[in-house]
Amino acid sequence: MTSDQQLTAYTLRLGDNALVLGQRMLELVAASPELEEELANANLALDYIGQARLYYSYAAEREGQGRSEDDLAFLRHEHEFRNLLLLEQPNGHFGDTIVRQVLFDTFYQLQLAALLECNDERLAEIAARAAKEVRYHLRHAERWLVRLGDGTAESHGRAQQSLDHLWRYTGEMFVADELDAAMLTNFDGPDLELMEGEWRRAVAAIVSEATLELPDAGSMAGGGKQGIHTEHFGFLIAEMQHLPRSFPGERW
């Protein structure tokens, strides 16, 4: 790939993260533990879907092949999506979604902070918008993590279990592949090695405030960046893409 193509592919990957997480949040509609949380969840999902559209539109433009944001979302095959495996995990209970949010948003916030300094103006602009939204999401999720961890014995147990189960998906965020390397070298983008340290410190702090235990470093899952997903992804994509694929070429 040329370095331009690498930037395009990287942008597409950012879109995949946002879309997959947004899609998971949609499944939570009408299932929140309280009405106020319905609004928070919808707000969050809207932000992620919005970000996905911005990333995809930009990637499609850069590609110059006449594809649209919808072509990228609805007509690519499973292995072409390069999202983090963490985000395609099923929702589980509220503890799972909060832990997922904290683990991902802590990373995403650092990623965006680096991207808004990168030397691609358009990407930096998108990152600046997203950063404002993610700061709010992370704060809300952290508040919940503390309340769950330091709430009742039941909530503490559930939150700890969520953390233990999702931990194996966190390593992938910091394993740099050629696109990450290209972003760092050619575009002044995120330095995953630096970010990992900051991420660990931030996560350790919030986990401690929540009176929870940081899981032991175990083996880490990977493959998302190469398009090798977990079994859950097929179902997510099938549901999402069903209608456009059933009516090829139609407008909605």
């Binding site: 309280e34 106020e36 704060r139 508040r143």
Partner: protein, 95 residues
């Protein structure tokens, strides 16, 4: 087991600098911090707010409408509140 409800908070929003806060409605929340988050998510979804105040509803002290006659007595017998009571000499402007 009867579940304890999250307390009710009243929400006040200032939509633009220069205006005062106006009552927008209420939200339930387990504590003050979450009340601010909930108020923001509910009442400022279309960026309608610059500043948010939340107050636990049970902390608000209110007048009793039945007492309004006593509290808000008609101003007829307290004429000094009306600008027309004061005689302004000729030649003084802007009063």
């Amino acid at each position: 087991m009867t579940e304890k409800e999250w307390p009710l908070y009243e929400v006040f929003i200032r939509t633009r600098a220069g205006l005062s806060h106006r009552h927008a409605g209420s939200v339930h929340a387990p504590d003050d911090q979450m009340a601010l988050d909930n108020a923001r998510d509910t009442y400022t979804r279309r960026s309608e707010g610059v500043s948010l105040w939340v107050v636990r509803s049970d902390k608000i002290v209110a007048s009793d409408p039945a007492e309004s006659a006593a509290l808000f007595d008609p101003a007829e017998d307290k004429i000094y509140r009306h600008p027309t009571f004061y005689e302004i000499p000729d030649g003084v402007e802007n009063l």
